[in-house]
């Protein structure tokens, strides 16, 4: 019986609407629909099955379960990105526990949970396993707090499990044999099993049996303890794989009495069987002489991640020249500018490139430079996303990329040496980044570095109308930079700034916009406590957190606040804030 006092006709209308809305999947569209009127809001709430919450503290779990009754899938994000770089104190928060208990009570039919940067305990995993009978997919990205025991419970209880993905999590090393927990008496529904971030070895025999009875397995990402010989045994059992994380891709060097006598792995045979692989990663302990083994499948690859292997230019060339269909390529800078040129020559369809530093120190030689960036911009015209670490850069190369790659949506350039200008002209990097925001009309995410003045930020504010995420470090002259950004970037959602001279007046200029943002992070800037209090006073629904990092004892900054992290919450400040976090 409906408890709502609406007429019969209206109810019919709502039912019709629900039947239509079931087909609406985009969450932005759904958010828009829910704003039309109360009736539409109700209808939308009844039909939403996938929920995305970008900041777990923006809303209390109860409010979610009160509004949405029929969720199948929940994606929760916790800590902000700068937590990945030790800028956030441990035990800051982002606990999954309150969420799992509330959801367990409300959503019997929940099938999928994805978490990013949250604290998840073994108990939480046990609650998932026991509460959601048809549970199918668990994806944990950059999470921590759980161990193999928790995984074991999931494996044991979730008989319909399709997806179990661990992505760059910090898993407690509790030496528990979770792989053996999967039911052994029948075939599984597993489609995806990823544990490449796991530090402890898994029971290989159990893994082999598991793969053998998982006919639907398409995605398998192994950790570095799986040797190349073991890999080949697995691939021969699962020729239907489309996504493979190779594990070590080198020889095993621990004593294993079970292992048959040492033989050179049979390369040619094994990968030839895996014609469906389109996504390849791993190479966690690469034996370079085995790299040619992947040649037979290179032509099919759309995604290749070599970023955990020291591959040089020559070695890369031998691989990349086959990879004509490549769309995503992650690598270390060990491939040098020469390697990037090879990428530019071969991968004309490339959409995403990430170049990570082998040596992250500030005075390193730097094997990649503006030369590599320019080469990529000339060869890979369809580039949409780039993350590039380097020691030196020029405005000219960045400007060239802005002209050659108009489809760029994500541009993240990290010049490791802080405050480095354009090394050829000696000028700040303003013009380069300015060209990016000006010419790349689809740009939604930007990370800047190098020597920058307020001019760069005026460009960003003026042209970066679609920018949703902006990362700034060690930049600018003064407050006006922040003012330009907050006043100009009307779509800004996530702002993360560190070690830049932005202060209170810059902060005030964003008062009109903070409610629309997912969060603002300012650390080691020139914002004072008074300034933060003022913001908190003017915007009562904004949770204004002020804290300092763990290592910071001494080094008083006087009035300056160490870290400011603020976000809008519908349910007031959180109750689980630790002592060192002050909510104003």
């Amino acid at each position: 019986m409906s408890k709502r006092l609406i007429s019969g006709a209206d109810q019919v209308l709502e039912n019709v609407l629900e039947n239509v809305l079931i087909f609406l999947t985009s969450r932005r569209d759904r958010n828009a629909v829910s704003l039309v009127c109360k009736s539409w809001c109700r209808a939308e709430a009844h039909t939403r099955s996938d929920l995305f919450i970008g900041n777990c503290y923006a809303v209390a779990p109860r409010r979610v379960t009160d509004r949405f009754k029929r969720l199948r899938s929940v994606y929760l994000k916790g800590k902000p990105r700068f937590a990945d770089f030790s800028l956030m104190p441990a035990d800051w928060g982002a606990h999954f526990t309150p969420w799992v208990y509330v959801m367990a009570g409300a959503y019997r039919a929940l099938e999928k949970i994805s978490l990013k940067r949250m604290l998840v305990t073994d108990d939480d995993l046990a609650v998932i396993a026991k509460s959601f009978k048809g549970f199918k997919e668990l994806v944990l990205v950059c999470c921590e707090g759980f161990g193999a025991r928790g995984l074991g419970v999931i494996a044991t209880e979730c008989r319909n499990l399709r997806v179990l993905e661990l992505n760059e999590d910090e898993v407690l090393e509790d030496e528990f044999d979770w792989i053996s927990c999967f039911p052994s008496d029948c075939t599984t529904s597993l489609e995806s099993l990823c544990f490449d971030c796991l530090e402890s070895p898994v029971n290989f025999e159990a893994l082999e049996k598991l793969v053998a009875r998982s006919p639907l397995l398409k995605k398998l990402r192994l950790n570095r303890h799986v040797s190349i010989q073991q890999l080949y045994r697995l691939t021969s059992l699962a020729p239907q794989l489309t996504d493979l994380g190779t594990g070590a891709f080198g020889l095993q060097d621990i004593i294993d009495p079970q292992q048959p006598a040492y033989q050179e792995p049979d390369h040619g045979h094994t990968f030839a069987a895996c014609k469906s692989i389109v996504c390849l990663s791993g190479f966690r302990d690469l034996a370079h002489e085995y790299l040619p083994a992947i040649f037979p499948i290179c032509a099919n690859l759309t995604s290749l991640n070599l970023s955990y292997a020291h591959v040089d230019a020559q070695q890369l060339k031998s691989v990349i020249r086959h990879c004509h269909k490549l769309r995503i390529f992650w690598t270390l800078d060990s491939i040098c500018d020469e390697g990037l040129q090879a990428v530019a020559n071969a991968c004309t369809d490339l959409r995403e490139l990430r170049v990570f530093p082998t040596d992250p120190s500030e005075n390193a030689e730097g094997p990649v430079s503006e030369t590599g960036l320019l080469a990529v911009s000339l060869g890979c015209r369809k580039l949409q996303s780039i993350l590039y670490f380097c020691q030196q850069m020029t405005n000219a190369a960045v400007i060239a990329m802005s002209n050659n790659c108009p489809d760029l949506e994500v541009f993240r350039l990290c010049i490791i040496g802080r405050y480095r200008p354009d090394w050829v002209t000696g000028q700040p990097m303003d013009e380069g980044f300015g060209a990016i925001v000006k010419n790349c009309k689809k740009l939604t995410r930007l990370a800047v570095s190098g020597l920058l003045t307020d001019r760069a930020f005026s460009y960003i504010g003026q042209y970066g109308k679609l920018v949703r995420t902006l990362s700034v470090a060690f930049a600018a002259d003064g407050d006006t930079g922040l003012k330009y950004v907050l006043e100009g970037c009307t779509n800004l959602q996530k702002l993360e700034i560190r070690d830049s001279p932005f202060g209170d007046s810059g902060l005030q200029s964003g008062l009109h916009h903070f409610y629309n943002m997912r969060f603002v992070w300012l650390s080691s800037c020139r914002v004072t406590k008074q300034g933060c209090l003022e913001v908190a006073r003017r915007l009562p629904k904004l949770v204004v957190e002020v804290f300092r990092r763990d290592e910071e004892d001494g080094g008083e900054r006087g009035d300056f606040v160490n870290t400011l992290y603020m976000y809008r919450s519908l349910d007031g400040p959180r109750a689980d804030a630790p002592q060192f976090v002050k909510i104003l």
């Binding site: 060097d253 830049s500 080691s524």
Partner: protein, 232 residues
């Protein structure tokens, strides 16, 4: 006039808790942290001074193309923005990875203290890694390998520790026996018999070791002799 503040390089975070940062008082903004090198040049003791005009004047002569590199490796937390997970994985790798010239890093970069090479033995179920820098002669290496692969015996090396390649018949005797001989892959990618060059040269050029049956190693002998002739 170029704002010289922009060319100032900071070693650390304002208010950061590094060993290098000097005592400061009261309000401190990022523009007040001072590059150590500037300190040395200007001989200015007062780093807590908020007036940087003097320092700026002194640096005005500097061509702003010159990169003022901090003298010491700066320990900035969370910079560059590489995820801790990735940093940990790479740190682990550089501890155990064999030294190869192919990795382009800082000159005298990581891993130069040890020279790990993989050692495999035909028929053995596992392979090991040895740090060649721990040994000073072929005999020491031989002893260590013998301990690792207990069924393995190395042929007699003669007094200088080098195989006498010029004595073809002696070499052939060794290779025809059923004993194991060690071979190694050198910088050029060729497989050579261990013992053909002076020890230090071997350590520098050895990338990988393989202990094979003498009879299997016969193919290596002519090449080894060839190279030896070229070197002598």
């Amino acid at each position: 006039m170029m704002h010289l503040k922009e060319t100032e390089l900071c070693l650390g975070l304002p208010g950061g808790g590094e060993a290098d940062t000097l005592k400061v008082n009261g309000k401190r903004g990022y523009s007040e942290t001072v590059d150590l090198m500037l300190n040395l040049q200007t001989n200015d003791q007062s780093s807590s001074s908020t007036d940087l005009k003097d320092k700026k004047l002194q640096t005005s002569a500097k061509n702003n193309k010159d990169l003022i590199k901090p003298p010491a490796k700066a320990q900035v937390v969370g910079w560059p923005p590489v995820r801790n997970y990735r940093k940990n994985v790479m740190a682990q790798k550089s501890n155990t990875e064999e030294v190869t010239e192919k990795v382009v890093t800082t000159p005298g970069g990581s891993g130069s203290a040890a020279a790990f090479v993989k050692v495999s033995m035909d028929g053995a179920p596992y392979l090991r890694k040895v740090d060649l820098k721990l040994y000073e002669s072929y005999q020491q290496l031989s002893d260590a390998l013998a301990k690792m692969f207990s069924s393995f015996t190395m042929g007699d090396y003669g007094s200088q520790g080098m195989i006498d390649f010029m004595n073809e018949s002696k070499l052939m005797d060794l290779l025809n026996s059923s004993e194991y001989v060690p071979s190694y892959e050198d910088k050029d990618g060729d497989w050579m018999l261990v013992g053909d060059v002076p020890w230090q040269m071997f350590v520098d050029s050895c990338k990988r070791l393989r202990i094979m049956k003498g009879s299997d190693a016969i193919g290596l002998a002519p090449r080894a002799m060839e190279k030896c002739k070229n070197r002598c």
